[in-house]
């Protein structure tokens, strides 16, 4: 009997010791477990780390709405000094390249129908004569307006080139009342699209990895039934969640660094402001995204649902309503209002300030405050929801 008692006693001691040991390191073990989950899925890892690179390169080099070397044809029935000058100046600009001169209306129509031509410049007959003697000469810009955005841009650029020519003539003729605008391009004098897209890509990637991955990782445990096991472990639920969040936090920090390095060294978009604040604000945004992921995970029960919610509620609004591609100012008021609740909108705006414009943290105070409020709100709500689910 005594021996049995002894054994029982030492057993109890062992358990106590173990539990002490566990308490200290169990959290780390949980974190380790989550890291294993990620590291052992090579394909997902590759995509998580490779996606920012591919997206940044696409956005930096391929995705642009600026018009460059648009193919235009010229129908010049006048063929004089002025028309030749204008055609040459259009061709010389970075926006247009004249690919063909047509000789008749018929040919013009044919060329247009075949496609591939963005604009046609049609000069009136006796263009220069009219211009110099009556002061009025007409030219037509025919554009393919299937894409209205490009069409308006083309007309705008062509108009300003023709306007420059007109200005030149005026100066030669000493015409009174001339106002010469001197244009200064702030922050991005070469008007590179990357300056606008880098903050957007940052917002998109961080949101995607943190929110989507966290929600799916948690829901996955629910779906597989392993969540039950985790919840009966000696860990408080909050630590379980925290343990899930830490690996994604690490991954997103790596991504943050990759994106910044790529944008500085490959896209030549410098960080004009303070790196410290840029990182801090990014960390804040990562927290917002993590808490969104947490909230989603408490709302849905299947990975499929988590994914659909993520795509519907996160990917689309981030692309659309964050000001990344489409300017927010031109949206209908309802959507402008809706864009206020998209965290990425605030983050992207803050990054544009801190990184591109190089302003101090005070100038983006509003954005930072909004993000802070969002973090607090989201965490409170999801913690409440999480407790309910445990009962």
């Amino acid at each position: 009997m005594k021996i049995l008692n002894d054994i029982a006693h030492s057993f109890r001691l062992l358990i106590i010791n173990c539990s002490l040991l566990i308490k200290r390191s169990v959290f780390l073990v949980f974190v380790q477990k989550e890291f294993y989950h990620i590291f052992r899925d090579k394909r997902t890892m590759l995509i998580l780390l490779g996606m920012p690179v591919v997206q940044l390169i696409l956005f930096g080099f391929a995705i642009t709405n600026e018009v460059k070397n648009a193919k235009i044809v010229v129908f010049d029935s006048s063929n004089d000094d002025a028309t030749r000058r204008i055609a040459r100046q259009l061709d010389a600009s970075q926006y247009f390249s004249v690919v063909r001169y047509v000789k008749s209306q018929q040919e013009l129509k044919q060329v247009f129908q075949d496609g591939n031509i963005s604009m046609a410049v049609v000069f009136d007959e006796r263009f220069n004569e009219n211009l110099l003697h009556t002061g009025k000469a007409q030219l037509q810009l025919l554009t393919d307006a299937t894409d209205p955005n490009t069409a308006t841009q083309l007309v705008q650029y062509a108009s300003s080139i023709i306007g420059d020519y007109q200005q030149e003539l005026m100066e030669q003729n000493k015409v009174p009342y001339q106002i010469q605008p001197e244009v200064k391009l702030l922050y991005n004098p070469q008007m590179k699209a990357a300056y606008n897209f880098v903050p957007g890509v940052l917002g998109m990637i961080l949101m995607l990895i943190c929110a989507m991955m966290t929600s799916i990782a948690i829901v996955r445990e629910k779906e597989l039934g392993t969540m039950e096991i985790l919840l009966v472990s000696p860990m408080k639920p909050i630590y379980i969640i925290l343990a899930k969040a830490i690996p994604y936090l690490t991954l997103s920090s790596i991504n943050l660094v990759t994106v910044l390095l790529l944008s500085i060294f490959v896209l030549n978009v410098p960080v004009a402001g303070s790196l410290f604040w840029l990182f801090l604000v990014s960390l804040l945004f990562i927290l917002v995204s993590l808490s969104i992921g947490l909230l989603v995970s408490t709302l849905v029960n299947s990975q499929m649902a988590a994914m659909l919610v993520s795509v519907l509620a996160m990917m689309m609004p981030v692309i659309l309503l964050s000001g990344m591609i489409y300017p927010i100012e031109n949206m209908p008021p309802v959507l402008q209002w809706a864009s206020n609740i998209v965290p990425a909108r605030w983050y992207i705006s803050a990054v544009k300030g801190l990184m591109i414009k190089g302003v101090g943290i005070a100038a983006v105070g509003k954005e930072v405050t909004v993000l802070c409020v969002m973090v607090v709100l989201l965490i409170t709500v999801s913690m409440k929801k999480f407790k309910i689910r445990l009962e």
Partner: protein, 370 residues
């Protein structure tokens, strides 16, 4: 055999409480919200004015700029530095600085300079807003000339009258351009993602094992997976036509049947692509991520948001291997230009090619042995 498999697939789809709702809600939401947001028009540009002159000319110029409709006066600053601060705080996008003696010099010297400073973080917006401003200022100058009647005294003022014609879409309606392309996006999302999650879902649930021990052939299995998405695709596109017509009043200039033909082939292709991904994946999470990655790249390179023509040559070459690009073109061609099948044979060929390729691959990559 196929009949029973199809019955199973449909029951699984319909008994899922999420998917049927999704199939209806997703197109509706997308098509109701997207076209309003997806707009590149640049107006409502926030303007900051620094007026050192406070003359009647400077006030008239400001008035003219504001009444053009492109600009909103959001800030009046005493100096350039202060104006720059409001640009930093995003209160203003463009600064116009009118120098002291603006009016006097215009009257006396006949020419004067003024400063425009534009925020070009968004290059397109910055470029267009300075362009608009230059036009307005030119207009103001010619207003002044006409009033004073001095034009007749000097030599003739050369003025070039630029008349733009917008073909195929004279009202520059951006929605006509976006809505048909958005239908492609909706189709891709639903008919691409759902198949991608389908087979791997069975793997994760363990029901794949059961299928593997039945005499169902690889081909029949893939076919049974594919057919429901054909029907989903048809429902989605019909719904989208309805919304485009009811909400935006858009009716294709060409034949509806042309679109259906292309859509049916496209759904086959993109669902096949989803199935391939599903076959290679071990977990739903993995399938989803791989799919997300590809779809993201495909969308970016499809010409939906930004024109393919403005991409560099290498990126344009990549888009040739993008099925989205072809259907996007087809949709826009049929809706805006009324093209028929004969005009779009290359696109038809490409899509059929993709459908055969992906589905063949799906059949081959499905392994019954574990």
């Amino acid at each position: 055999m196929l009949k029973y498999l199809l019955e199973k697939e449909f029951k699984q789809l319909l008994r899922n409480k999420f998917i049927p709702r999704m199939i209806i809600m997703f197109p509706i939401l997308q098509l109701l919200i997207f076209p309003w947001a997806a707009n590149f028009e640049i107006n409502n540009i926030n303007l900051s004015v620094v007026d050192h002159d406070h003359s009647s000319y400077s006030r008239r110029l400001i008035q003219k700029i504001v009444s053009s409709g492109y600009f909103q006066l959001t800030d009046v600053s005493p100096g350039y530095d202060r104006a720059l601060q409001s640009v930093e705080k995003n209160k203003a996008d463009v600064v116009v600085e009118i120098p002291r003696n603006f009016e006097k010099e215009l009257e006396r010297e006949g020419h004067v300079k003024l400063l425009i400073a534009a925020n070009t973080v968004n290059g397109t917006k910055g470029g267009l807003s300075t362009g608009y401003l230059a036009n307005i200022i030119n207009g103001f100058a010619s207003d002044l000339r006409q009033e004073s009647g001095q034009a007749s005294r000097a030599s003739v003022v050369p003025a070039i009258d630029i008349v733009p014609y917008y073909r195929f879409n004279p009202n520059l309606n951006y929605k006509v351009f976006m809505v048909p392309a958005l239908m492609v996006l909706v189709l891709t999302m639903l008919c691409g993602f759902l198949p991608a999650l389908n087979i791997v879902g069975e793997k994760e649930a363990g029901t794949m094992e059961q299928i593997n021990v039945t005499p169902v052939s690889k081909f029949t299995f893939i076919l049974a997976k594919l057919l429901p998405f054909w029907i989903i695709g048809t429902i989605v596109i019909t719904l989208s036509f309805g919304i485009a017509w009811l909400v935006y009043g858009l009716i294709p200039a060409g034949h509806l049947s042309t679109i259906y033909l292309f859509v049916l082939i496209y759904v086959l292709a993109i669902s096949g692509f989803g199935l391939v991904i599903s076959n290679y994946s071990d977990t739903i999470q993995q399938a989803m991520f791989v799919m997300y990655f590809f779809v993201m790249v495909l969308i970016m390179l499809s010409g939906l948001f930004t024109p393919i023509n403005s991409m560099p040559a290498w990126a344009q070459d990549i888009t040739l291997a993008n099925p989205l690009r072809y259907l996007m073109q087809v949709m826009r061609l049929v809706y805006l230009k009324g093209s028929g099948i004969a005009d779009m044979l290359p696109q038809l060929g490409a899509l059929i090619g993709f459908a055969v390729l992906f589905n063949g691959w799906a059949v081959l990559s499905y392994k019954k042995k574990s």
